[in-house]
Symmetry: C2
């Protein structure tokens, strides 16, 4: 007997209801991507290994899924390498392709490869799955979708302003009111490190600072000390932990604190530009606030850093993030192309909408009308009706066999169909059909040629 089938750990099947809910999110995100002038691209699921390897650090390299070469791959391994029986040296000999790990590196590769066909500045969006050989755990999968919008070829801060607006537009239409968009700038982090005398220890400083949410002020200070940042420096950085007031007040304080740092002052100016534009135009439902402890994989970003968290009261990590990176395409030999982008965390947004009951009820309804099947001649008439309904865009179906009425109605209930059509021998003779409203049980009779009246009521 066959074994009960299963899927690899960390992967998921999506049921009709789940696909519909995911598409509800995707469709809204895509709509706003498009109104903001972003264009879609798609790249292959696997890339040449040398496109991906070495771009995500050692840990990333380890988590990239490699594809085994086809055919008699082993015969191409030289005896010396083979005799070592070492996975690391063998891998590049038996695998030349790998599943994409994120959408950013393939996008950079795309921009460089197609630079002569692209009109810069290029605003692209991309919604595709990525794969990571991570240890699966709650909310962490080996296959998941990324959903990115990036602009390359422009260093204008207008892009940052628009990306804040884009977050606001999407979350407002998703009815997820009150998301918190946190904003920082790598230059401010660099400025702080410089001012407190930890400029040569910027990475350790910001990695520690980034953990404020999780380990608290004392934890951060302890880590900084362990990483060789002096007590004096940490003391000087203390005001950062208690930066408060309005965005403008915080900016003013930062400007004062960082006045001796050129890069820090530049960072404050950039933040101020974005905040003033947003204040002038206004947001629909999101809240934008400065967070100088925000770093998000700092090595990557060179300017603005964004992170979005769910509204107050919902326990969930970030549901979006992004920032500016000044040399996206340098890794593939195209220098001086500045980029800035954001991403939406689909899986977490899904969980938040589910928790708050924000998915429209209609999503669970996949069929508008079901015709009961009373036998071949009746079914032919019902199929004629069904055909007319479908032509009008109504999602209609006919039960495929003349099973017992009870069975057919059970099916209608489990499919959550709002209207059932009854067209039996008598109706066929009368050229009529009966519509049963499944919510209140009411029935209404229509003539065959009055189907438009029924459609109009739907």
């Amino acid at each position: 007997m066959a074994q009960k089938p299963s899927i690899p750990k960390g992967t998921r099947d999506f049921s009709p209801s789940e696909v519909s809910k995911r598409n509800y999110i995707f469709d809204i995100v895509k709509k706003h991507f498009r109104t903001f002038g972003f264009q879609p691209i798609e790249t292959p699921s696997f890339e040449n290994s040398d496109t991906l390897m070495g771009k995500y650090g050692d840990e990333g390299d380890r988590l990239i899924f490699k594809i085994l070469n086809s055919g008699d791959f082993i015969s191409k391994v030289d005896d010396f390498t083979y005799s070592s029986k070492n996975s690391s040296s063998l891998t590049p000999k038996i695998s030349e392709k790998a599943l994409r790990y994120d959408l950013t590196v393939p996008f950079a590769r795309y921009v460089v490869q197609h630079q002569n066909e692209i009109d810069f500045p290029f605003k692209r969006y991309q919604i595709q799955p990525v794969w990571r050989a991570d240890r699966p755990q709650k909310g962490r999968f080996r296959e998941f979708y990324q959903c990115d919008a990036d602009v390359v070829g422009s260093d204008s801060l207008l892009q940052e302003v628009e990306l804040v607006q884009l977050y606001d537009s999407v979350f407002t239409e998703l009815e997820l009111k009150g998301v918190k968009i946190k904003l920082n700038n790598r230059k401010i982090l660099a400025g702080i490190a410089e001012v407190i005398g930890a400029g040569n220890n910027l990475i350790n400083f910001t990695v520690a600072l980034d953990k404020l949410d999780k380990i608290g002020e004392e934890g951060v200070k302890k880590e900084m000390l362990e990483k060789g940042i002096s007590e004096t420096a940490i003391e000087k950085a203390s005001p950062l932990f208690s930066l408060n007031g309005s965005n403008t007040e915080q900016l003013d304080k930062l400007q004062y604190l960082l006045s001796s740092s050129e890069i820090g002052t530049k960072g404050v100016e950039e933040l101020r530009f974005i905040l003033e534009f947003i204040e002038d135009i206004g947001l629909q439902s999101a809240n934008l606030s400065i967070d100088v402890t925000l770093a998000r994989g700092l090595n990557y970003y060179t300017g603005a850093i964004f992170e979005v968290s769910a509204p107050e009261g919902v326990q969930m990590g970030s549901i979006g993030g992004g920032g500016r990176y000044d040399d996206l395409t340098g890794i593939f030999g195209l220098k001086n192309v500045s980029g800035v982008g954001i991403s939406f965390g689909l899986d977490r947004i899904y969980l938040v909408l589910e928790e708050l009951g924000l998915f429209p009820k209609a999503i669970e309804q996949s069929l508008d009308v079901l015709c009961v099947n009373f036998g071949e001649q009746e079914a032919l008439a019902a199929l004629r009706l069904t055909t007319q309904l479908r032509s009008a865009g109504v999602r209609a179906d006919i039960y495929p066999s003349d099973a017992k009425m009870q069975k057919q109605m059970k099916f209608a209930n489990s499919r959550n169909v709002p209207h059932v059509i009854l067209l039996g021998a008598q109706e066929l003779k009368d050229k009529t059909f009966v519509v049963k409203n499944m919510a209140n049980g009411e029935q209404e009779t229509y003539n065959f040629d009055a189907i438009d009246d029924f459609i109009a009521k739907l």
Copy 2:
């Protein structure tokens, strides 16, 4: 210096224009899937190897992309296997997962795994990429989308009728009028083989017959002879090559020819049911015709066999196909679940629409309005306008820097934008903006508060 990046052979990047055209097709297909009562599912990109291996024949097994195990995969290979240095014996030891090869086997796996959550009959559609390590050539890729609709859990011929209607609805909305839907039935093929005395050689008989299009009548006869089918049998089959007349006339001839075969007679009855229903209801633009030489990987199908070809005059292989298979889920231990399904060949449909110029012109327009950037203050006002336009669903953008007018207009032209907004110092003072129609060069001036008038004209 970095090497110019490339992608693996047989894979593709899709540009914004290509993605938009592909989505145009997908969106229409999905819309009709839904009105016909089909529901979407999605399955993981990779499956456990034992789910896929052995399901597509030896050739299929060879073409499945295998994923290398993570970590120190080699240390888990026993010395005996390792010392053989044999790819076939090594593969299962170093790879436990594989990329899906089609959507049918994962669907069968899904149905068995989730049988207790599914309301049968289950009409599902699935549009996802599949991967095959085939030799790439014109029109054949290593990554491509499949687009399938199947019904499982019902042996009613109404499904076949609906699937013909579904093809007709989709191709009609794609403006691809006059596609030819060919219909056959495995039972008819079995009946013919039985009647001519080649019943024990059914596979060879139909494989040869299936090639009639390509190698002609003489070629088919030659192959049959080579495969051990007797000259007498081939002679008896001759009328099949010249079967002509209307569908009804052909059916009558077949009924006569196959009257001594029980299974053949059943096949004729099934074809007649489908044809009579379709004749009664009518098709919008497709033509349905019997083709007794149609086999399509016969081992698979047990009843109806479909194939769609492009309208007369377009040289292209089949753009869709499908059929009934009586034991889809048997491979995973769930017996007696009949299925019937069809698929749409996205890549070929794309090429046909391109060749016939059937993609709507609007697809190439990704932006409705572009605001020229005249500097920071003007840009702020332009961004306010842009924000209002976007809220109204207009795809609008603002050029990110105050580059030279010529450069900005060149960008507008290459993005194919129909309307450009000019909002310079004077307009800012007057609280107006100028809309330039890029097609005819005409300009019109609006007050800031009359933006709705402009939107109404779009």
